[in-house]
C-alpha cells in the first residue's frame, strides 16, 4: 500500500469526479429515454401524424379528435369503473386478510404464501386462467349448474355491459395478496401498548381496530392507493388476455386504445395524444397522493 503524497491527492481527485462520471450514463439515458421521449410523444400529439410521423405543429387537433372519439370515452368510462372497483375491492380484501392474519394465527406463513403467490404471475397468465374459469359454457357457470342450479347464468365475459367487471374480478384476485402484505407489515409496526390500554378501558376488538388501529395505518393507505391507482391506469395486459377489450370495444381501456391506434391502426398522432392523456392522469392522481403521503408520514 503506497502512501506517497502525490498518489493520495490523485486518488482524492479521482474520488471527486468518479461519482459524477459513474452516474452520468444513467442520467443521460434518463434524460433521453424518459424526458426526451415524453417530449417527442408530446410533440407528436400536436401534429397531424398518421401512418408516418411528421413534425409540423398543428395545434390540438389530435386532442380534439380524441375527445370526439366514442371509443376513447368508452375506454375512459371503463377505466373509471375498473379503477374504482379494483382499488376499492383490493383495498378491502387486502385489509380484511391482514386483520384476520394479525390474530395470532397458526400456519400464518403458509397462508401468507398462498394469498400472495398470484403476484408472482404475469397478468397474461392470470387473464388466461380467469378467461377459462369465466367461460360461460364450461366454466364456473357449469359447475354451479351441475350442483343443482340449472338456471344459474354467469356470462359476464361475453356480455358487453359486464365484461369490464370480469377484469375487476381477476385484478382483485391478483393484487389483493400484495395489499395484504403491505397492511400486515403496517399492523406489525403498531405499538402493542396502545391496544392493551384500549382493552383495559373496555373497548372491544372491532372498536379498537376501527377507531385506533386502522386510522394509524394512514401512511400505508396512501402507499396502497398510490400503487393500485398506478396499476389501474396502466392496466393493459390483463384486459388484453381476458377480454381483448371486447366484446367489440366494450371493455376497452386507455392503454388498449393507445396501443391499437398507435400500432395497429397507424394513427400515430391520436395514439400519442392518448398516451399524453394517460401521463397527465397519472400525474393528476399521483402527485396529490404523494403530497398527502409525505405529509401524513411527517405527522407520524
Amino acid at each position: 500500500m503506497s502512501s506517497s503524497q502525490s498518489q493520495a491527492s490523485l486518488s482524492a481527485l479521482a474520488d471527486r469526479w468518479l461519482p459524477k462520471l459513474v452516474l452520468s450514463p444513467t442520467l443521460l439515458i434518463s434524460l433521453v429515454f424518459v424526458y426526451g421521449f415524453i417530449a417527442w410523444t408530446g410533440w407528436l400529439s400536436l401534429t397531424e401524424s398518421r401512418l408516418l410521423p411528421q413534425m409540423d405543429l398543428a395545434g390540438l387537433i389530435q386532442y380534439q379528435a380524441l375527445f370526439e372519439n366514442d371509443r376513447w370515452w368508452t375506454a375512459v368510462a371503463n377505466l373509471g369503473i375498473f379503477g374504482g372497483l379494483f382499488i376499492g375491492c383490493t383495498l378491502a380484501v387486502g385489509l380484511f386478510l391482514a386483520v384476520l392474519l394479525d390474530q395470532k394465527i397458526r400456519a400464518e406463513g403458509t397462508l401468507r404464501t398462498i394469498y400472495l403467490y398470484p403476484m408472482a404471475l404475469s397478468f397474461i397468465v392470470t387473464g388466461t386462467a380467469w378467461k377459462w374459469m369465466l367461460n360461460p359454457d364450461m366454466g364456473l357457470q357449469k359447475v354451479i349448474n351441475d350442483w343443482g342450479f340449472p338456471d344459474f347464468t354467469f356470462d359476464w365475459l361475453v356480455d358487453p355491459d359486464k365484461a369490464i367487471y370480469t377484469v375487476v374480478i381477476a385484478g382483485v384476485w391478483q393484487s389483493s395478496g400484495f395489499v395484504m402484505a403491505l397492511f400486515l407489515a403496517g399492523l406489525r409496526g403498531i405499538d402493542d401498548s396502545i391496544i392493551k390500554a384500549a382493552q383495559v378501558d373496555g373497548a372491544s376488538l372491532p372498536v379498537i381496530y376501527w377507531r385506533i388501529i386502522i386510522p394509524s395505518l394512514r401512511p400505508v393507505f396512501f402507499s396502497v392507493l398510490l400503487i393500485l391507482s398506478h396499476i389501474a391506469i396502466k392496466s393493459f395486459d390483463l384486459v388484453m388476455a381476458l377480454t381483448g377489450g371486447g366484446p367489440g370495444t366494450a371493455s376497452d381501456v386507455p392503454a388498449i386504445f393507445m396501443y391499437q391506434f398507435a400500432f395497429t391502426r397507424g394513427q400515430l398522432g391520436l395514439g400519442a395524444a392518448s398516451a399524453m392523456m394517460m401521463l397527465m392522469t397519472i400525474v393528476a392522481v399521483l402527485v396529490p397522493l404523494m403530497y398527502m403521503e409525505t405529509r401524513s408520514a411527517k405527522r407520524g
Binding site: 400472495l116 403467490y117 384476485w173 398506478h230
Partner: protein
Amino acid sequence: MAKHLTPGRIVLYAALVLMAIYYLLPLYVMLSTSVKTLDDIRGGNLIALPQSITLDAWSKAWSSACTGVECGGMKGFFWNSVKMAVPSVLISTLIGAVNGYVVSMWRFRGSDVLFTLLLVGCFIPFQVVLLPMARLLGELGIANTTSGLVMVHVIYGLAFTTLFFRNFFVTIPDELVKAARIDGAGFWTIFFRILLPISGPIFMVCVIWQFTQIWNDFLFGVVFAAGEAQPITVALNNLVNTSTGVKEYNVDMAAAIIAALPTLFVYMVAGRYFVRGLTAGAVKG
C-alpha cells in the same frame, strides 16, 4: 394469551381457509385442466378431478401448439424470454448497484435533485415512450429482436434498481465509509471491498424484482418484438387467442403454467426476498 377454539376462532379460521381456497382455485383449475383430455373437459366440469391423467397437452404446449401461424409450441418463446430476462436483469442490477452507491454515499451538490429526476422513470406510464422507442429500435436495426428488448428493459429498469440500492445503502452507517476513506480506500475499493460483501440480500431483492417484472412483461414484448423474438407472455396470449380449429383448453392451461413456472419457482424458493422487493419497490413506486 392462550387461544382456545372459541366459536369466534372457528369462524376466523373458516374465513381464512375459504380465502385460501379462493386464491388456490385458479391454480388448481389450471393444473387439473392441463392434464385432462378434451373429452373429459367437455363432459365433466371445471373443478372435477381429471378422470385420467395425460401429459399430451403439456408436450403439445411445449413443442407443437400453434401461436398464430407458427406451430412450434412455447419452447422457442420460453428461451426467448430467458435470453431476454437474464442479461436485462444482470445489467440493470449492476448499474443500479453503482448508481445507488453514488447517490447514497458520494452525494455531491445536486445529486439529490438528479436522483429525484431519475425516479420519475418509475412512475411514467410506458405508453408515453412507446412510439419514439419503436422508431429508435427500427433505426438501430434491432426492432423485433431480443437485443432490442434487452436494451428497453435495462433502460426502464434503472430507476427501480437505483432506488433499491440507494434505499439499502442509506441504512449503512456513514462511519464505515468515513473510516475506510481515512485509511486511504478510494471509490471503487470501498464499493468492492466493503459494500459488496454485505449487499447480498439487496442483490437478491433487486434481481428477483427485476426478473419478475421482465419475465412477466407484456407491453414491451408485444410492441417491440412481435414475431420470432416474442417473449413467452406474448406467445401465450397469441396461443390462447388463436381461433383456428378446435379450442384446446388443456393446451392453453399447460402453456400458461409453463409461462408462469419460472417466476413461481423464484417465489417458492425466495419468497422472503420477493415480498421485501414488493414492499420496497412499493413504498416509492
